[in-house]
Symmetry: C2
Subunit: 309 residues, 2 copies
């Protein structure tokens, strides 16, 4: 059995995950919690207290180093780890890590990545570690890959020979919540009707992908359809979801020279993965299924090896 | 001096406007109030009470007929005037008018217009009367015109030989409020900074018009620019406004076969008119300035003549 090499932590806005690993990446123990960056400061002992309790629960030696990524390194987090610039790779993440001063054990926080090229300002924090931890794809002979991480702020990333070359964020989930809750469409999206209508979704995704300029008219058509043809109108929430994901795919196609020539590596799990897979399928596009949890662990381990050895 | 022919009322969600007119359209008296459809039911005497008090204030004879348009005829209004279908003209508006039962004087409420063609469901209520009241344009020899009424739900309408042929609603103002108040951008749009930055606005309008698919990425770039280059980043609120109006113009171009061949008739006043004019100008497009208040009065009068004589 491996001996412990480091504790790896994926510390996001609303979640905490920790793996105790051997140097070869073997997982020796694992912890999950809800003490995300947004609330950790209010826990007993703050960020340090949260971390210590999780480490103690798996009997980690007092001097074992910790390497963390995610919003824990934001300005509002534990300790700011300033962004490194694109192109980024495991070496630049390791070089940009900050060490928490005064901690009993060595605790390193990895930086996020920013992009300034051509004024296309963008930032990520946490996703870079996950993306750089994706297993090298065997079928990309030209060394260029496109990765999609859907969510509140979906990230689309180009990998070139293992480096994070460029990226674009699309505020898809954020828009969904704002439109569903705070526009005229709040009258159309019946609370409690969380059914997913695949046909409405696919039709909407195709419409938004084909005519992204018309998105704001398609949004109103959800309301108008409900007024004029309540029995025949497409399912409102599934249509809104399809429109916004279709718009995201159109946006990624516009930013990255089309999607037709790529197999997109889709890093998602559960219902969100199914939803994006349905959108790709509706558009006749291919996407792989990537294990995001394994990826972030590999990305953390790659940085930890560079920092600690 | 003309004798009174009718009282014309433009009764929207949040506003009430009344004109006492002669048969030739001469305005004999005028009233404005804040008792819109949304609150009129709670006033003493409800809708009838609001109307009576405004009429009494200008000493209107007890039997003088009233013709009203707008949200007062919505399901949630005074009395529902069901939508008439496109194509619509003053005759179909007059034919679709409903008479309020039991009122002391004749009160007619004009219908809204709906569109079902090709599943492009859409509705309007109030704007149809205004659009059909626009003065016939002299410079449109082919008889086809494109009209833009910006607002919370902007309406773009094609007029063909004086008939309202088709239209599309864009939820531009609704999106602005939802995005500014309820997405990550709420951190970027500083409360109280209501300055308008013309350069930021124009650049954003051009970007959204040229690449509408990328709108959701451009939204995040407002936030990222504020984090990465707070001094150099474009003005956030002006950028958001430019992006959403540029997107609307791109959508109208997509729906109506481009904007380059049209002189768009812009029905707006005040700061909103200036903002849309700036967007048209940034894109090298032309727009006329239409008097919306005169137009709704002419539209009401045209319907009143058909109903009352």
């Amino acid at each position: 059995m491996s001996t412990a090499f480091a504790a790896l932590v994926d510390w996001g806005t609303t979640s905490f995950r920790l793996w105790l690993v051997g140097e070869d990446g073997t997982v020796l123990a694992e912890r999950r919690g809800g003490e995300g960056m947004a609330t950790a400061a209010e826990e007993p002992g703050g960020f340090a207290g949260v971390l210590d309790r999780h480490l103690a629960a798996v009997s980690v030696p007092a001097d074992l180093p910790v390497v963390a990524c995610g919003m824990v390194g934001a300005k509002q987090g534990w300790l700011e780890a300033p962004y490194v610039e694109t192109p980024a790779d495991p070496d630049s993440l390791a070089a940009g890590a900050v060490k928490v001063p005064g901690a009993e054990r060595p605790v390193f926080i990895l930086p996020g990545v920013c992009q300034r090229a051509d004024g296309r300002f963008d930032v990520m924090r946490g996703e870079e570690t996950q993306i750089l931890g994706l297993e090298t794809s065997q079928d990309r002979q030209d060394g260029r890959e496109l990765v999609c991480l859907p969510g509140t702020h979906s990230k689309w990333v180009t990998l070139e020979k293992g480096r994070l070359a460029g990226f674009a964020t699309f505020v898809t989930g954020d828009l969904f919540a704002a439109i569903a809750g705070h526009t005229i469409l709040r009258h159309s999206l019946t609370t409690g009707d969380d059914r997913f209508d695949a046909a409405s979704f696919a039709e909407a995704a195709r419409a938004a992908f084909a005519h992204p300029a018309e998105i704001s008219n398609r949004l109103f058509a959800i309301r108008a359809g409900g007024l004029l043809a309540p029995e025949a109108a497409p399912h409102a929430a599934s249509t809104l979801s399809g429109l916004l994901i279709g718009l995201e795919l159109a946006g990624a196609a516009s930013r990255f020279g089309g999607l037709g020539g790529h197999v997109v590596r889709l890093v998602a799990a559960g219902p969100l993965a199914a939803r994006y897979r349905a959108a790709f399928s509706a558009l006749g596009l291919d996407a792989t299924a990537e294990d995001g949890e394994a990826a972030v662990r590999r990305g953390l381990l790659a940085a930890a090896r560079r920092i600690l050895t």
